[in-house]
């Protein structure tokens, strides 16, 4: 179990906790790429998802096209894109955005679909405009599922940003894994992997709390027997 003790030693070494190659800097980079790509993807996918969910139009198309996006192997898309964009962050951001769109889209439209039609009809009968129905009725009720989409998109991006380090350019935590493998530096590989795993688990935990918070702050609903 020398790998384990070497890993602990690597993580304990203060040299690995400062500077541009240090864990804090790479962690911040990793989170930076993640939030940037999720923000771009959300700006594209959530309005479309809300429109599809609200109007019920183009639903089949959304399911098929986002499904087709998901079937693509990420590493392939990444390497293919990087042949055209060259070394740098562009290919990684492009791939990660592509990857984050399907769960965000699915979260938005299936969230709205989960809202009881009678509630929407009641809101309409009360004289709410379509925009008011969307922003004051449907979105608040769908929020836990929309956040679920955000959660799954974020976790996928965090995981895939690690793989994206295969292309020189992006820093982030994946560097420890890819560089460590290239140098046969296993303690670095395992230490980097542990940091990535902990990050993913912490982010997932934050989203679980967020989803609970949203559910708690929601006005109590009376369940109507179907």
């Amino acid at each position: 179990m020398s790998v384990l003790s070497d890993t602990i030693e690597w993580l304990g070494d203060s040299a690995h906790w400062s500077g541009d190659d240090g864990v804090p800097h790479r962690l911040v980079q990793h989170l930076g790429y993640t939030s940037l790509t999720v923000a771009i993807a959300a700006a594209i996918a959530i309005p479309i998802g809300l429109w599809i969910g609200h109007t019920g139009r183009l639903r089949g198309l959304a399911v098929v096209s986002s499904g087709a996006l998901r079937a693509l192997p990420t590493l392939g898309v990444l390497t293919y894109a990087s042949l055209f964009t060259g070394i740098g962050i562009k290919a990684a951001i492009f791939t990660l955005v592509l990857l984050a769109i399907p769960p965000l889209l699915a979260g938005a439209y299936s969230g709205l679909e989960s809202v009881d039609r009678r509630t929407v009809d009641a809101a309409r009968a009360m004289g709410m405009t379509e925009l008011q129905i969307l922003t004051r009725v449907e979105v608040p009720l769908a929020l836990p599922i929309i956040i679920g989409g955000l959660r799954s998109a974020t976790l996928q991006v965090v995981a895939t940003a690690t793989v994206a380090a295969y292309i020189p350019g992006p820093g982030g935590l994946g560097r420890y894994l890819i560089d460590g493998l290239a140098l046969n530096d296993y303690p670095q590989v395992v230490a980097g992997s542990i940091v990535v795993i902990v990050l993913a688990l912490v982010l997932d935990g934050i989203f679980v709390l967020l989803q609970r918070l949203v559910l708690r702050n929601r006005p109590a609903t009376v369940r109507i027997a179907a």
């Binding site: 699915a106 996928q156 995981a159 795993i197």
Partner: protein, 234 residues
Amino acid sequence: MRWVRDNTDKIGDLLVSHLWLSVVPIVLGFAIALPIGWFASRHPRLKGVLLTFAGVLYTIPSLAFFLILPSIIGTGFLSPLNVVVALTVYAVAIMVRSATDAFESVSPAVLDAATATGFAPAGRAFLVELPLAGPVLVAGLRVVAVSTVSLVSVGALTGVSNLGSLFTEGYRTDNDAEILTGVVGIVAIALLLDALIVVAGRVLLPWNRGPRSSVRSPVSPMMSFAQHLRGGRA
């Protein structure tokens, strides 16, 4: 296209190893998740714990998981076993949830009727519950299959040969045809396994086909993708 013609042997070999690296975790994951899901559907208290644990396992990024397994199970760093074990864990993690849903979808009244007709508990589980849970199990298995096939390619970064190796090699040699071949191959395997599962489901669960007038089976091809979106990972 010329690159493909010149390298058919290599592509064939990688295709076969990719298929193996996918099929073994899918089959193992299904076999392991089935009893766990059945158990979870029976014990509502433990169900929460089991499903949360599965969710946590599924959160682990694949590349990190592939690389950390050797120090846990004592395999070599480049061993294909790391990929197989990690993907089996993911398969179990997704499938336990589907299996739980599947067994819970069986009506309690039907189970009572089966008991009343004289089925012993084991016989009831295999002859009544399993077939009735079938459609939902098939839907879950399709999600597992597509996700496993695409995850295998990440294993190429750790030196395990599969169609993902065409990505790493194509990137190194600046060969876009090679990368595209890998993408097409992986999507083809995913579609093939998905279709096989659908066909197997139709053959094993003929009562699930529904009335002749409606061509759509209860497990629509979209469903697997819709589920996949929510559970997809990298």
